[in-house]
């Protein structure tokens, strides 16, 4: 029998307590993972906007509370194009519209027809809209299939009836779930003439993207350049607050979990003082007895982490189906979420187990043996 087998056998003999500790860890992990996955899902949804276009660099207004409230005007767009190293800049208006109760956040993208190809949009059916059309639309293929629309059909949104002239694909789930309109028409409907949300840039061959990014940040201090989705928080204060809230809640969950783990371990220590004394009396080292206690908790914490991740799958499946969250929340189980689960469980055990472990280490065999 190995030490591990001995430990597992001991845990099995105290199933109820072991299950209690496992559940405590599982709930903390579930909370942490659900928060993390939700927030990273929200971040991904929002960040997906910048990934619609095939750009080297995206430029947004700095310090806005959410990226979709960024606005860049024509003068700024011209100044961006004048930055050395910028080969092209496409201005794109991104708006959301409530199409129906079941589609509360529909993505509407305003883009000039000549910019579609540079932006990375492929027309998969029909043809693009005309630049000056006021009632023409191209549907993303996901949106077309959601609404059951084909080329030549009508699409009702923005209080207007649009003719579907084409179906497009961007290769980006977020972009393909929306619709594209002539830029001017969408600007007019949203009463933001001449304004775009984001500028998508191509960098001249041979020029490092970072160099161009630095130049833009320097020359246009009211704007900010974004290269990756993770840099997105630079522009979006909501996401910064969200991440801070998630981190805060994680720390809280770990601390609460640690208290439960510590309390359970302490109870278990009291209950097993005689046992530990006996083991010390027959030659177990201090290290081995403490190792037994900590090892047991660690095993339970790892099981708890696994259970917690499973629970969070369930919780998120439910959250995603809630009407108020559908379409907004995309559960996004990244490896970071699993790493966080593991980290939470281990941190809880170590923090919670510290004091009981010290108590266990201080026990002398005889004290422990005479403990009632």
């Amino acid at each position: 029998m190995s030490f591990l087998a001995y430990m597992l056998r001991g845990l099995w003999s105290k199933k109820v307590r072991a299950a209690g500790l496992t559940m405590a860890v599982a709930f903390a992990v579930m909370t942490v993972v659900s928060l993390q996955v939700t927030s990273s899902g929200l971040e991904q949804s929002a960040a997906a906007v910048i990934s619609i276009g095939k750009a080297d660099l995206t430029v947004a207004q700095k310090g806005v509370s959410d990226i979709l409230s960024s606005s860049i005007d024509e003068t700024e767009l011209a100044r961006i194009r004048a930055v050395p190293g910028v080969s092209s800049a496409v201005g794109v208006l991104v708006e959301t519209e409530k199409v129906s109760a079941s589609v509360p956040l529909f993505i509407e993208i305003g883009i000039a027809p000549q910019d579609l190809a540079p932006f990375g949009v492929t027309v998969v059916a029909g043809r693009p809209y005309a630049a000056d059309a006021t009632n023409q639309v191209m549907m993303g293929w996901r949106a077309a299939s959601t609404f059951g629309l084909h080329v030549g059909d009508r699409f009702h949104t923005n209080g207007t009836v649009y003719d579907v002239t084409g179906i497009y694909s961007t290769g980006n789930a977020f972009g393909d779930a929306g619709a594209m309109f002539p830029l001017v028409a969408l600007q007019a409907y949203n009463r933001v003439p001449g304004m775009v949300t984001l500028a998508f840039l191509k960098v001249a061959p041979g020029v490092p993207v970072t160099t161009v990014a630095r130049r833009i940040d320097f020359r246009l201090p009211e704007l900010t350049s974004i290269r990756t989705a993770s840099q997105f928080g630079r522009a979006d204060r909501n996401l910064v607050f969200l991440q801070a809230a998630v981190n805060g809640s994680t720390i809280l969950a770990v601390l609460i979990g640690a208290v439960i783990v510590g309390n359970t371990m302490l109870l278990s220590l009291f209950e097993r003082t005689r046992e530990l004394g006996l083991l010390r009396a027959v030659g177990w080292t201090r290290r081995r007895t403490v190792g037994l206690l900590l090892g047991e908790s660690l095993v339970l914490a790892l099981i708890g982490a696994a259970v917690g991740v499973c629970l969070s799958f369930g919780v998120l499946a439910i959250l995603e189906r809630l009407p108020t969250l559908s379409g907004v929340l995309h559960a996004d189980f990244t490896s970071a979420a699993f790493a966080r689960a593991l980290l939470t469980a281990v941190a809880m055990t170590i923090i919670g187990g510290l004091y009981p472990a010290i108590r266990a280490a201080r026990l002398t065999p005889l004290e422990a043996l005479s403990y009632e």
Binding site: M1, R9, G10, L278, A281, V282, G283, W284
Partner: protein
């Protein structure tokens, strides 16, 4: 039963064995409350001797045994086992694991573990592999006539059977010194008899035995009986 109880203990030349004479030199033990449990005890027990310690309750028998097992330290004086001053041994865990076998009156076993695991557990951290630990535990349990019951929990055994497990465990690491504190104190006479037969077998293998008992009949089974009163060793009949 007696033929089932085969040889216990190891030949005198067993691996890792160390000299094991017990030597108490002016040993005083005062507990924190002020109780003087041992009052200048001088005592020598030779290698291979079978000694019983007897005396009224509270006279210091257990205290003496605990000091010999390095479970506690004397207030003054020296305890030597095999000539080594226990206060100078850096690794007492290793000493307890390898040099002495310890048997208490009650609560000898870990309740949540099957008896085989109870025996194997004292061999963690020794040179034996997991496989060797398992084989040795099986063999020891067979020697105390518990073959076939290795996977029972302590609660599924009688008091006498539990004490036999404790003996098997005490012998697991081949100690040359066996310390037992009223090992038959809570057994009925038949069960006590089986346990005493086991001690007899162990003793024949040259293992030094110190057994605390307040049963005069049992005390007489030994080579020598030490009488204690109020923390001192006294002459019989005093």
């Amino acid at each position: 039963m007696s033929e089932a109880i085969r040889a216990l203990g190891e030949p005198a030349a067993a691996e890792g064995s160390q000299p094991c004479e017990v030597d108490f030199d002016a040993v005083v033990k005062v507990y924190p409350g002020g109780v003087r449990a041992l009052d200048r005890v001088d005592l020598r027990i030779a290698e291979g001797e079978y000694v019983t310690v007897t005396g009224p309750s509270g006279c210091g028998k257990s205290t003496m045994l605990h000091l010999a097992a390095a479970l506690d330290v004397p207030t003054s004086g020296t305890v030597r086992i095999g000539g080594r001053d226990l206060s100078a041994i850096p690794d007492l865990s290793s000493f307890r694991r390898n040099q002495v076998g310890l048997i208490f009156q009650l609560h000898n076993l870990i309740p949540g573990q099957p008896i085989i695991a109870n025996v194997e557990a004292v061999m963690f951290g020794t040179h034996r592999s997991g496989h060797e630990r398992r084989n040795r535990a099986m063999e020891l349990l067979a020697r105390v006539d518990l073959a076939g019951r290795e996977h029972r929990l302590p609660t599924q055994l009688s008091g006498g059977e539990r004490q036999r497990v404790a003996i098997a465990r005490a012998l697991a690491n081949e100690p040359r010194l066996l310390l037992a504190d009223e090992p038959t104190g809570s057994l009925d006479p038949a069960a006590a008899d089986l346990v005493l037969q086991l001690f007899e077998r162990v003793r024949r293998r040259g293992v030094t035995i110190v057994m605390v008992t307040h049963d005069p009949g049992i005390a007489r089974l030994a080579d020598r009986t030490i009488y204690m009163r109020e923390g001192r060793i006294v002459e019989p009949g005093l």
